[in-house]
């Protein structure tokens, strides 16, 4: 039947597409909300059980255009492509099908003329370590966007420690999902700032490699594949594991620990007890400039209690487009260094993209923390 990759409504937009964001929904609630917006306000919403029947059959395609206006006065035009990976089928059993979906979404991006493409969430995880899975392209660069995600996680941890009057140099840091691209990037950036680092992941081999590298730089490192095996209480936790659903249960938390859940989907189980810890969602940035979505799906694509907030991986593509840096900035596991993080952080700030205000499932938390009791580490 020829090329069956979805085209793009260029007639609706005179500007060329510079960036594309490839993403997927992290929950059926999010998927239902997106389809409800596309369905329009005049039609009754489709029940979630019907969405579960329909959604898996939708081929990857653009769902909206994005106009991004930076505080520098620069503008860039892009598209958001949904790979329509069913939120409950993110696991390894469906990897081949999901890779095919991401590839088809990537072809959509290439065909749209996008110069830089961010691979959000599982989209990057599927392609990390095997760039050959990407379709052949000449004029289009792909970035996982993970460098800016790491930047916002690190900024978030530092800011939260400041708000809580916590001395990072005395803290034990636990990273769950430490051997992934984001986890290992966080480890490299934060290890010099803390007393001790506990690395957790499934692969002992990868943990050992990362642990040895950090130890060689003078970090006190413990590696564990089982969170129950951690030898002492932890003060700061970063959760960036590739989990199919929020199912992580933490233990051995110090009183008033700081917990950053930057997973997509979220890592922490809603039923988990955090024993007085301060938990916030991390890896998120907020743009001072305008982000205009057409159709206006922004509020359902980004479920945040603040305007213009998005995942760092998505924002990285926009920032690179504004900079005309059409390059594979974040290339997958192992390339995120403190220097690269500092650079993308600076570029983002230049265009008015900063760390998002803190919030969690309960809502905004920054004011609560600022006005509440502070804890000495």
């Amino acid at each position: 039947m020829g090329d069956t990759t979805a085209g793009l409504n260029n007639s609706a937009k005179s500007q060329p597409v510079e960036f594309a964001l490839i993403a997927h929904q992290e929950s059926w609630k999010a998927a239902t909300d997106v389809l409800a917006v596309l369905r329009g306000p005049d039609l009754p919403p489709v029940p979630e059980d019907e969405i579960r029947n329909i959604f898996p059959w939708i081929p990857p395609r653009p769902i909206c255009h994005i106009d991004y206006h930076s505080v520098m006065g620069h503008s860039s035009h892009g598209i958001y492509i949904d790979s329509f990976i069913p939120p409950d089928r993110l696991g390894p059993a469906h990897k081949a099908e999901n890779v095919a979906r991401v590839r088809a979404a990537a072809v959509c991006a290439i065909n749209s003329g996008a110069r830089i493409v961010s691979l959000g969430g599982f989209s990057s995880i599927l392609i990390e370590g095997d760039v050959q899975l990407l379709p052949e392209q000449k004029e289009t660069a792909f970035t996982t966007g993970n460098t800016l995600t790491v930047a916002f996680i690190v900024q978030g941890i530092r800011k939260m420690c400041e708000l809580q009057d916590r001395a990072m140099r005395n803290a034990t840091l636990l990273i769950v999902g430490a051997t992934g691209d984001v986890g290992s990037g966080c480890a490299r950036c934060l290890a010099p700032l803390v007393k001790r680092v506990v690395l957790n992941a499934r692969s002992m081999e990868r943990l050992t490699t990362l642990g040895q590298a950090l130890t060689a730089e003078g970090t006190d490192v413990e590696i564990v594949t089982d969170l129950q095996q951690i030898s002492m209480q932890v003060d700061i936790v970063i959760c960036v594991a590739s989990l199919e659903s929020p199912s992580l249960l933490l233990g051995r938390l110090a009183p008033h620990a700081i917990v950053c859940d930057a997973g997509y989907p979220k890592n922490l189980s809603p039923s988990g007890e955090l024993a007085g810890a301060v938990m916030f969602y991390g890896g998120l940035g907020q743009s001072v400039g305008d982000m205009i979505f057409q159709p206006d799906v922004h509020r359902v694509l980004h479920h945040h209690p603040f305007p213009n907030v998005a995942q760092g991986c998505m924002l990285e593509g926009m920032v690179l487009a504004l900079e005309h840096r059409f390059e594979p900035y974040s290339r997958g596991r192992g390339f995120i260094t403190p220097e690269r993080v500092a650079e993308i952080e600076m570029l983002a700030a230049k265009h008015g993209v900063h760390l998002a205000p803190f919030y969690n499932a309960e809502g905004p938390i920054e004011d609560v923390i600022s006005s509440g009791e502070r804890h000495k580490a």
């Binding site: 020829g2 069956t4 007639s11 596309l38 029940p47 081929p59 395609r61 095919a100």
Partner: protein, 253 residues
Amino acid sequence: MEYATSLNRVGSPAVEDPSVTASVWQDVLAQAVTGELIAVLNYTSLSEICDDPAEAAEAIEHADGERGHAVAFTAEGKKLGLEVASNVNGKYWSRLRASFLRQIEARDFIGCLIIQEIMLESFAVASYRRIGEVAPGSMGRTFAAIAAEEEEHIDHSLAILRAERAIDPAKFDDKMKSLHLDVMTTLAEMLAREDKDGHCEVCHGACVKDGLQRVGLSTAELRGVSLQHYVNTLDSLGLPGEMTLAWVTQLPV
């Protein structure tokens, strides 16, 4: 690429002894025969408005081919000792025929191609292919073979439609949307979980939808594969993906 190949499938394919599920196959075949007869009528009507004799001859050839498909499906029923009914005046099929006839009345050749080749054939190809995977014995092979034949003859129409869209994309897309709202709404209602307006007037007894699971099928899956094939076809014509997605989300469920 068919996504969700393993998704929403109700599990085990056909029961080996088709007599156990005879009533289900009887209705599946009745719907297929009726759809083929509608195609015969549509192609015959189309042949009467073709200005180009070659196109008229091709339409007649297609009509003959669809008639052959109806005969083949009927024969498969007979092999199982089933009387396969058909009813082109059934509730949904008559609406689909009426939609096509409106294009005939307007002598709109392109509109006719869109309805028959893009919409109805997407439904036929995708659902036949899936039924072919679970139907027992020669019935399965017949569904699969007819799905392949239907898909083959679409190529010529796609070329015509692509050329038409190239002349004025906005006008073409408007026409496509208008026909989508009309025809695909009917197909979506036909494949909805429940018949809100009563019996379809093709199935011989109660609605076959509830029985599909007994043969390894479901309405959700048949609707899914059909819409996926339809959307992919629209992609291949060059229609914007975000626009066709919005159309599909607006269909009744």
